[in-house]
Amino acid sequence: MSEKTKVMVVTGTRKGIGRYLSEYYLERGWTVAGCSREASDLSHPAYHHYCVDVADEAGVRKMAFDIGRRFGGVQALLNNAGIASMNHILLTPMKTTRRVFETNVFGTFLFCREFAKLMQRAGGGRIVNFATVATPLRLEGEAIYAASKAAIESLTQVMARELAELNILVNAVGPTPVKTDLIRSVPKEKMDALLARQAIRRFGEMRDVSNVCDFFLHPDSDFITGQVMYLGGVG
């Protein structure tokens, strides 16, 4: 897969890892179509922003339709958009649970479904979903977040089998905590205890995430699908 003039869709691009990945792949010659619920201030001739809630089926369909018309096909999808809720299970509101599943699971599903159609028409593509080390570490206080990401792992593994015949490869990256808004409210002692359970005890960096994405997107990775790669030696 040459990275020239290829089209990549990234979700959750307004800030954090999504913003970083957009800029990272724009620098490498990709055309990037990004989305978030709110407008983005990312300005680049090859960046196209869509104000879409990833769990809004009609909105996602319209975004895919527009991208199909503009670019014909899509070669890569990074399903980065995600939200977390950290709370004891007995204190977790149903509304929060629903919101986490809508964004993390239903959003990932909708983008995979709609953009795999565009990849199929382009002769194939690569999907990278976003898991977390919270799932294999069974982190207390993150039941809903970890469960939603466990669903993404299953989705990734089953989709990999269903889409392989269409030359669409589906994998997932499972980051450790990276210093973004997602973990801003987590107490320091909780974070230290988490890092202590990793083989390599440090926060993840943005480049650790893009490195795994690079691997999954690399032309030579055409025999790699259905895999979940955790950072930091977790798993």
């Binding site: 089926e57 159609k117 199929q120 028409r121």
Partner: protein, 101 residues
């Protein structure tokens, strides 16, 4: 109705033509209303049907400027599946295209 049944049937036929280009001569999909799309009597396996549905969605988008999802809840719950034959599918696509914004 914004779009006629004949216009929609023509879009469905063009999607079938496109798909047939990559299918062997003895596995060509017919375009008559009676052509069976899945199960006994169909030349397509399940992946073939998936490809056909995606091609039709795309052809409809290009021709009528509307985004439709054929495999929606209504289609999956209808007792008589719209995916039975080219004729029933054409009628269903016609309905969706005219319901779309």
């Amino acid at each position: 109705m914004k779009f006629s049944l004949a216009e929609v049937q023509s879009a469905v036929a063009s999607a079938i033509d496109e798909l047939n280009q990559s299918r062997p001569a003895d596995r060509q999909i017919g375009k008559s209303d009676e052509t069976v799309l899945y199960g006994a009597g169909s030349v397509m396996d399940s992946l073939g049907l998936v490809n056909l549905i995606v091609s039709i969605e795309s052809a409809v988008g290009e021709r009528f400027g509307v985004a439709i999802t054929l495999a929606d809840e209504k289609a999956m719950s209808l007792r008589n599946s719209p995916f039975r034959s080219v004729g029933t599918l054409g009628a269903y696509v016609h309905q969706l295209v005219n319901e779309a914004e």
